[in-house]
């Protein structure tokens, strides 16, 4: 203990004397991230895919001279090749442009739903973890109930009732997905509020709101970033499964899931219709999980740079 304190004092003196470069927590995290090749590759791949998806409209209209809904029944089931980069589907629509739009739809839904569920999860988790009491009891009961129903069952029922388009799907997925985040945040806040720095803040007369937003929330940032990456990945899988079962995004609007719905019927003539969308989903989700892991390691203050 004493040696530790002496070490800290020595470090502070060295920092003040300008002998050691002072780095903030974020700077150190970025440094660690820059050395993590796998995460960088995943970031690059995901960035490229996202950029292509965002530019879906100009690319299809001006570079491919088509739209995702342009049918050409004389040219259906073309295999990937020169004319159509990734071939055409059963109605002769260009698979590449449908893939761009589908990725855009899937990414948008997953991203905003993850933001929504994180917002709800973090807020409720902080409140219940900090205050406890009857709200905590009620929410714990609610979450236990929600978690005892297999999630896909619940999603299918709600989706069959609402017949969602891409906007309502964001709300459905967001309102059902926050329980895991809330439990994580609740646990973190429970342990954080007993730490010395929170007690010190309270002793200095900080209000509960100030403690929550100024002291607890910054300590949750790494948790939130990691959860966001993992959640977006999980939500892409969920959305794809829903749309595949015909409960999500309805055709003709493409999504990575509904592109696969009828594809198995044409497997003999056009195997690319089954292989490509699934591969894209796997790659995106893989990147997100790798990034989530990499960021978690980079933000972990117990690992030294």
């Amino acid at each position: 203990m004493a040696a530790n304190v002496r070490g800290n004092v020595a470090q502070i003196q060295a920092e003040e004397a300008g002998q050691i470069k002072v780095r903030t927590h974020m700077q150190r995290a970025l440094m660690r991230l820059r050395r993590d090749r796998l995460t960088l590759v995943a970031l690059a791949v995901l960035g490229t895919i996202t950029l292509l998806a965002i530019l879906a409209e100009p690319i299809t209209l001006y570079m491919l001279n088509t739209t995702y809904a342009t049918e050409d029944l004389t040219n259906n089931f073309t295999l990937p090749g020169n004319e159509h980069l990734l071939g055409t589907d059963e109605k002769g629509r260009d698979v590449f442009s449908r893939l761009l739009y589908g990725t855009q739809v899937s990414l948008r839904i997953a991203f905003f739903a993850a933001i929504l569920s994180l917002g709800i999860g973090v807020t409720l988790g902080m409140i219940t973890g900090y205050y406890g009491g009857i709200v905590d009891d009620f929410l714990t009961w609610f979450i236990t109930t929600l978690n005892s129903i297999p999630s896909l069952f619940l999603l299918l029922i709600i989706a069959s009732i609402l017949k969602p388009d891409s906007t309502t799907l964001i709300f459905v997925l967001g309102f059902l997905g926050w329980t895991g985040t809330m439990r994580l945040v609740r646990g973190e806040s429970l342990s954080l509020k007993e730490r010395e720095f929170i007690i010190a803040a309270r002793a200095m007369g900080a209000s509960s709101l100030r403690i929550m937003f100024q002291h607890i929330l910054p300590n949750l940032i790494s948790l939130v970033v990691v959860t966001l990456a993992i959640d977006v990945g999980g939500l892409i899988l969920t959305e794809a499964a829903l749309s595949f079962l015909n409960f999500g995004i309805a055709p003709p609007e493409p999504s990575l899931g509904n592109m696969l719905t009828r594809s198995s019927d044409y497997y003999r003539t056009a195997p690319h219709l089954v292989v490509i969308p699934g591969l894209v989903i796997t790659i995106i989700v893989l990147c997100l999980f790798v990034i989530g892991d990499g960021v978690r390691d980079a933000l972990d203050p117990t690992i030294n740079p």
Partner: protein, 352 residues
């Protein structure tokens, strides 16, 4: 111990109550309830009187709380108390058509599509889901745990790296796509009949005439692979972390200091304790299997709970939907309780 079990069982009551309330509210808020489905089937004959009688028979004229109460507990006791008249033809007996026993007495009503007792239909479906569920739980445990142990022993080696990549891919690959690819490759390209799913559902909602499971194990192969891949990935990663945690603890150092051979230290001392946290995985695993079953069973036309659930949601066959949700929830709650108890049994540090 007994007290703990009883307490956990009592704690399950509000959860189950919540599930019934939630599924009831959901179904009731669905547009085009049961009455409309009947009307759609038979539009010419739907005179106002008939419609009224139908609404009365389905209990749709009552306010929601009463409907919920009837759905839960039945309406025969209401008749006995004189709250509700179920004897419409005045012969002194309750009309069979109007009688409800409630889900608490396992009366789930009548299926709107099949016009048969829901309990019977669901009961016929559960064995298929159990077959698949047990198979995939066993496979994921018996593959995942050894893989995790070996990966921990050889950490940093090629085996560790390969299984790590496999595990990440396993969690990122869409279950339905993986199933679809296997189904298409083995069932269509290689033309193997066993890959095209269970062919026991000849008359749709009965499993009579299906040979016992050990005679048709080959049908289980593909769905089990699909359902257990995620589990294998999860268990092996978890086992690896857990084992690496225990291998640094003091008692393992003691075992090494005594001069025990490496094999005994890893397998007898460390692995046994590292296994304990796996007990908590049973609850989530059952939820995962049930959710995954909905997709996997649909792809491989496996006549289980998941398949009939997906089909019934599409067809708006609400009694079946509600019954499957409830049974899924009860199975989940039981699994969570069992995993709690197992944890307590395996870990003597936990006291009640």
């Amino acid at each position: 111990m007994t007290r703990h079990i009883i307490r956990r069982l009592i704690q399950a009551i509000p959860t189950i109550f919540g599930v019934t309330l939630l599924s009831f509210v959901l179904i009731m808020s669905a547009p085009g309830g049961p009455a409309q489905i009947y009307a759609r089937e038979d539009p010419e004959n739907m005179t106002p009187e008939k419609r009224e009688r139908l609404l009365e028979r389905l209990g749709l004229n009552d306010p929601w709380p009463i409907q919920y109460l009837i759905w839960l507990t039945g309406n025969d006791w209401m008749h006995t108390l004189g709250w509700k008249d179920l004897d419409l033809n005045d012969d002194g007996e309750i009309d069979e058509d109007f009688l409800r026993r409630g889900i608490l007495r396992f009366d789930f009503g009548e299926s709107l599509q099949y016009k048969r007792d829901v309990g019977e239909i669901i009961g016929g479906r559960i064995p298929a889901t159990l077959e698949l569920g047990f198979a995939s739980l066993l496979v994921s445990l018996f593959l995942g745990v050894p893989i995790g142990i070996l990966a921990a022993i050889w950490r940093g080696g090629w085996f560790d790296n390969i299984t790590r990549v496999g595990a990440v891919i396993g969690s990122a690959i869409p279950v339905f796509w993986f199933g679809l690819m296997l189904f298409l490759f083995f069932g269509i390209v290689l033309n193997q009949p066993w890959a095209r799913g269970n062919q026991c559902d000849k008359n749709k909602y009965s499993r009579s005439g299906c040979p016992p499971v050990h005679m048709r194990l080959e049908y289980l192969i593909l769905p089990t692979i699909v359902l257990s891949y995620g589990g294998i990935a999860g268990y092996s990663r978890y086992m690896r972390t857990s084992l690496l945690d225990t291998i640094n603890s003091d008692y393992v150092r003691t075992a090494r200091a005594k001069g025990l051979p490496n094999r005994d230290v890893w397998f007898k001392h460390a692995a046994r304790n590292a296994l304990i946290p796996l007990a908590t995985f049973l609850g989530p695993a059952v939820v995962g299997v049930l959710s995954g079953a909905a997709i996997t069973e649909s792809i491989f036309s496996w006549p289980g709970l998941g398949q009939i659930f997906v089909a019934s949601v599409s067809a708006r066959d609400y009694p079946i939907v509600m019954a499957s949700v409830l049974i899924g929830a009860v199975l989940t709650v039981i699994a969570f309780i069992i995993s709690d108890i197992l944890y307590a049994v395996f870990d003597p540090r936990i006291r009640f």
